[in-house]
């Protein structure tokens, strides 16, 4: 393949030749001869036997936003000595801390490696590679491009900002011990009632003051703390990635969903996820770290857009995922009116719905007008369910706990 430098040579040769003819100056023919010689010398300098292999090593497959990854590119030349430009393809939305290519001379059987550091500034699934090797002469007049199809896949998770204790009540709890107060009697620290002491009761539960008052043994009854099932719905319907405000809002929703699922799973609850928007997907509720990982993988892929209205998706999915009475956290920027119908349907089905209205700051007039429409949706939602307005810059857990309707105890911030 001919390059820009080849064109420069050809232009120089032709223009000198024309100048020599016009000026009838024999000396200029010398320049033409030398330029042609240079070009010829350069062109015969490309080796015939090119056999180069490459490999990529990355220090992980999973990263969070603002994490740095160290990439090692290994190149092995099994053919003739070549002058080569080795370039690792990296996605455009990744910040390269170092140059991601190398210009060098690779001798026969030489193994060469170089390191690259990249920083992930956006969540998502990334493909690092392939490695392109451009074999050329020193003047760069002719090149041969070899693409080595080696690709490493990396997932970048949203940031989890969780600085609080999520302390909620739930209508429906599971049989396993957790941190949600249930109607059943159990062994938590929350006092429920007094009862007559019967043989076999724990002696430590005897209420001595009450026993003295009633002149018989009275013991305390405590509430049980169990786990609950919940679903987090992330609503990217009617959002686009055209404006900075919408991008910021979507990222806040995703980050909030990550923090909420982390907190709920840390308390031992079963958590599921439904994504609405450009990438419609869902995960059935589950426990533990593996579930958190599944959720984070899905959150990494959330895209704005609208494929189906929220009410249609939720009415179809939720009965299949969790039982009536379970909690549904609906994180939404309230851009889509179909959310009202969706929440109405879910409440009718017996679910406990909390709408988290993600509101990012903006002094833009168009956003202020948009906020008026969003406040109308919020007003309609307030009549049927709990709506928590969450400032995107703050902690979602704190926003939930500041809402006295939802909080069982006073919110306590952990530093």
């Amino acid at each position: 393949m001919y390059t820009k430098q080849f064109s420069i040579f050809i232009i120089a040769i032709i223009s000198t030749l024309l100048l020599a003819i016009i000026l009838e100056e024999w000396k200029l023919y010398l320049v033409v001869i030398i330029l042609i010689s240079e070009l010829f010398f350069s062109m015969i300098n490309i080796p015939e036997n090119i056999d180069i292999s490459a490999n990529i090593e990355i220090n992980g497959e999973r990263f969070y936003i603002n994490d740095e990854a160290a990439i090692k590119v290994l190149v092995h030349n099994k053919g003739d000595t070549v002058f080569a430009k080795i370039l690792l393809n990296i996605p455009s939305n990744v910040l390269a801390k170092d140059p991601h290519g190398l210009i060098t001379i690779l001798k026969r059987n030489e193994l060469r490696k170089f390191d690259i550091r990249i920083k992930f500034i956006e969540r998502g699934k990334y493909e690092i590679g392939p490695v392109n090797i451009i074999v050329q002469d020193i003047l760069g007049t002719i090149i041969k491009v070899i693409s080595i199809p080696i690709i490493k896949k990396v997932t970048v998770f949203p940031l989890i900002r969780s600085y609080g204790i999520l302390d909620l009540e739930a209508r429906r709890t599971g049989p396993w011990p957790g941190s949600i107060i249930s109607k059943r009697l159990g062994t938590s620290m929350e006092f429920h009632a007094l009862k007559d002491y019967i043989t076999g009761d724990d002696v430590r539960k005897i209420n001595w003051k009450a026993s003295a008052r009633f002149r018989r043994l009275i013991s305390n009854e405590y509430e049980s703390e169990n786990v609950t099932d919940s679903i987090i719905v992330i609503d990217a319907n009617n959002l686009t990635s055209k404006t900075e405000y919408e991008k910021r809002t979507l990222e806040a929703c995703v980050s909030g969903a990550a923090a909420l699922s982390y907190e709920l799973l840390a308390q031992g609850n079963r958590v599921g996820l439904i994504c609405l928007g450009g990438m419609r997907n869902w995960i059935k509720p589950g426990f533990g770290k593996r579930q958190l990982l599944k959720i984070l993988y899905m959150l990494a892929e959330v895209k704005p857009g609208k494929e189906l209205p929220a009410d249609q998706v939720l009415l179809l999915l939720t009965p299949y995922m969790i039982k009536s009475g379970s909690k549904i956290f609906f994180i939404s920027p309230l851009m889509d009116e179909s959310i009202i119908g969706a929440v109405e349907d879910l409440i009718r089905e017996g679910y406990s719905v909390i709408v988290i209205f993600a509101l990012c700051d903006s002094s833009d007039l168009s956003i202020e007008i948009l906020n008026l429409q969003r406040n109308i949706i919020k007003h309609n939602l307030l009549q049927i369910s709990n709506v928590v307005t969450w400032d995107c810059e703050t902690n979602i857990i704190k926003a939930l706990m500041m809402n006295t309707k939802l909080s069982r105890r006073r919110y306590h911030v952990q530093h």
Partner: protein, 160 residues
């Protein structure tokens, strides 16, 4: 890995050397070389390489048109070719400077080898044509040619 600024320093030195060769006709050439030197200092401007290339090619044409059978004339033409070629090499190496590490320790012998070949071509063709067209080269020119060929042979030997 080395900084590409070393290559730019090399070009800068070559421009300074060129000025010495044009000492008897300094006024025009000084302005050209000063422009080129300033361009090197304010590197990475949009049209840096294009302007450098046009200027160096103009110097090359001018030197060839004023060919004489003196050492100075041969040095002028040879240095013009070297600068012109070096700029093309720099375009090749530095046009995507931010994307690549440049392994200059390995590249510099290759660059010198290329420049050596250019010297061989340019000087021999000039002397050959000068003798053909009855411009008698002096003995000293022939000695320079022999020295240059020796350097090139040494470079070739270092390559192998």
């Amino acid at each position: 890995m080395y900084s590409t600024s070393k290559l730019k320093i090399l070009l800068f030195i070559l421009l300074l050397i060129q000025i010495i060769f044009w000492i008897d006709n300094i006024s025009l050439m000084l302005s050209i070389f000063t422009t080129q030197a300033l361009l090197i200092l304010t590197i990475n401007k949009k049209y840096f390489y294009t302007i450098m290339l046009i200027l160096s090619f103009s110097v090359l044409i001018y030197a060839t048109l004023n060919i004489e059978t003196s050492i100075l004339s041969i040095l002028r033409i040879t240095s013009s070719y070297i600068v012109y070629t070096l700029i093309i090499i720099m375009i090749n190496l530095l046009k995507e400077e931010k994307q690549y590490w440049i392994d200059l320790s390995k590249l510099i012998p290759k660059i010198f080898f290329t420049i050596g070949i250019i010297i061989l071509f340019s000087v021999s063709i000039i002397l050959l044509s000068a003798s053909t067209l009855s411009i008698q080269p002096s003995y000293i020119d022939t000695i320079i040619l022999i020295i240059l060929i020796a350097i090139i042979l040494a470079l070739l030997a270092s390559q192998t």
